[in-house]
């Protein structure tokens, strides 16, 4: 539905030139939700603005619904934009218009008859749960309501694709979640293709099917969300994920731990389980087959698009050889192990 081919965007010229996007290739399947994630300044905003040509790529081609936007005249491009909705971090609603007036604007632009506009506004108010606030002005609305108005407005002309530019970044976590639910809902009900950019992993994890990690203007990794969260393919992916999904030893544990093994001390190990590996059976086998005793000190389990990711810090008790054998066994089951330190036996 959306395809970027070798898109490069350079600001300025000569020695002062700054490359904001470097040879970006991205494909968003019809009806799917793709999230582009990256730190600020990575080029996310430029990327999404290149899709509807609010910014024109210096090189490369942009396709939406099999039409090449980069080859269009101004008039053709305006027409194509009617089929691409967009919402923004700061909502960008017209303060001089009511909720109804804002939602109807895109239809006024294409000359839809007044009666049809009013009917469509009613449908959209219903869809976004704003019927009660139809005649309010934006200044009287909460952030979440404003973003709902913006979504209704973006959907007014029945677009096939929706671009979301940090749409939840100005909202609190609870409102974010309700907006994400709404986006997921319209994606499923209307078959709308969504491309969003965000710096929040939580957003990607909650609603995206595909994720693209952008760093320094380049897409470094594009993968299904379940794969990316459980098995990032690149170092950048791992680093980004570690910031989001981590299990750090508590302060109390850090104080008790010593780096090298001391006499009778026990190793403290961080285990990272992926996919289906996390099961109580695994624990039982460690105890039964290897004679290892295991105490769980800290644990965290996440479910991402049907995949399980488990993080656990455990204290292991077992003789040298059995310990190594147990670690090998875990590795064959694709459990990542990491010795964090040692603690004194405390019984």
């Amino acid at each position: 539905m959306i395809r970027l081919e070798n898109v490069t965007r350079v600001y300025g010229q000569g020695a002062r030139a700054v490359t904001a996007l470097k040879d970006v290739n991205l494909e968003v399947a019809p009806g799917s939700i793709t999230g582009v994630i990256g730190v600020s300044g990575a080029g996310k905003s430029t990327l999404i603005r290149c899709v509807n040509l609010l910014e024109r790529p210096t090189q490369g081609r942009v396709f939406v619904a099999d039409q090449e936007l980069t080859a269009m005249s101004k008039t053709e491009l305006r027409k194509a934009r009617h089929g691409i909705g967009m919402i923004f971090q700061h909502f960008n609603l017209l303060e001089s218009r009511t909720v109804r007036g804002n939602i109807g604007l895109p239809l006024e632009l294409i000359g839809t008859p007044r009666r049809d506009i009013d009917q469509r506004i009613d449908e959209l108010l219903e869809l976004t749960g704003l019927t009660e606030r139809a005649n309010a002005y934006p200044a009287a609305l909460s952030g979440g309501q404003k973003q709902r108005v913006a979504i209704a407005r973006a959907l007014a002309s029945n677009p096939q694709a929706l671009l979301c530019d940090e749409a939840t970044s100005a909202l609190d976590p609870q409102t974010t979640s309700s907006i994400l639910t709404l986006l997921r809902d319209i994606n499923q009900r209307l078959g709308l293709t969504i491309l969003l950019i965000t710096h929040e992993m939580e957003v990607v994890r909650t609603i995206c099917d595909q994720v693209a990690l952008i760093s320094g203007g380049e897409l470094v990794e594009t993968a299904p969300v379940g794969d990316f969260f459980t098995r990032p393919a690149t170092e950048e992916g791992r680093l980004f994920l570690n910031d989001f999904l981590q299990l750090a030893p508590s302060n109390a544990l850090l104080q008790r731990m010593t780096a090298p093994a001391e006499g009778d001390s026990l190793p403290v190990v961080r285990l990272t389980f992926r996919g289906q590996a996390l099961s109580s059976e695994l624990m039982t086998r460690l105890v039964q087959d290897f004679g290892i005793r295991l105490r769980i000190l800290q644990a965290r389990v996440e479910n991402i698009q049907g995949r399980t990711l488990g993080l656990m810090i455990v204290e292991l008790e077992g003789a040298g050889a059995t310990f190594d054998a147990a670690m090998d066994h875990l590795h064959t089951l694709d459990v990542q192990t990491e010795v964090l330190g040692h603690v004194q036996r405390h019984d």
């Binding site: 491009l77 934009r81 691409i84 017209l94 604007l105 934006p138």
Partner: protein, 217 residues
């Protein structure tokens, strides 16, 4: 004060209204056009034409730097060509309107600059034409600022119209000068000044009222 003087002052009030309202309408209408042109033709704007922009800007600056009393005299040949005479109430409308245009243009440009860029971007993403952006986004969103600009202009024109009395435009300025100053009638001077104060106050209050009404917050 004699009843003849009272009649004279009343007539002068109507002349002042006539001068201010007519030149205000013309000046504000053309000033808005020029202000919008200044705004949209700037670099990176919706109708970027930097050369034209600099040209308009230069014209505006020249227009604003000539003192009104000089402008009025300098325009005399043009006024005579346009309305047949350079003396009289109608003739005074020409320099008043022309003085108002660049004044309004800068104020309008300032009001438009206050419209958040994101709104223009949103309209562009909807496929709006530049004309649609001007008429449906820029001007309505800048309404408060535009009313303020109109208020300031009308008040400035009340002052300018008094100067126009010097070329026989009539109005309160002429009465104050001819009777209050030249024939030393302090009562006439006081009354005309008071009327002008009331007019300015009234325009300001009306302007504030409309600005307030245009704000939805």
């Amino acid at each position: 004060m004699s009843s003849a003087m009272i009649d004279r002052i009343l007539e002068a009030v109507f002349d002042t209204f006539y001068l201010v309202i007519c030149s205000g309408l013309i000046g504000i209408a053309l000033g808005i056009v020029m202000g919008v042109a200044l705004y949209v033709t700037r670099e990176n704007r919706i109708m970027a034409m930097p050369v034209l922009n600099r040209a308009i800007s230069l014209v505006v600056n020249v227009g604003r730097s000539v003192p009104f009393i000089i402008l009025m005299l300098a325009l005399a040949p043009f006024t005579r060509w346009l309305v047949g005479s350079y003396i009289g109430t109608t003739a005074a409308l020409v320099p008043l309107s022309i003085a108002a245009i660049p004044f309004v243009a800068r104020l309008v440009e300032g009001a438009l600059n206050e419209v958040p860029h994101g709104l223009i971007e949103a309209a562009e993403s909807m496929g709006a034409t530049p004309w649609q952006i001007i008429t449906r986004v820029l001007l309505p969103e800048a309404r408060g600022g535009l009313i303020t600009a109109a208020t300031i202009t009308i008040i400035a024109l009340i002052g300018y119209s008094a100067m126009a009395g010097a070329i026989g435009a009539g109005g309160l300025g002429a009465v104050a000068y001819n009777y209050g100053y030249s024939r030393y009638n302090p009562m006439v001077m006081l009354v005309t000044v008071l009327i002008m104060v009331v007019m300015v106050q009234g325009v300001q209050m009306l302007g504030d009222f409309f600005v307030h009404r245009s704000r939805h917050r």
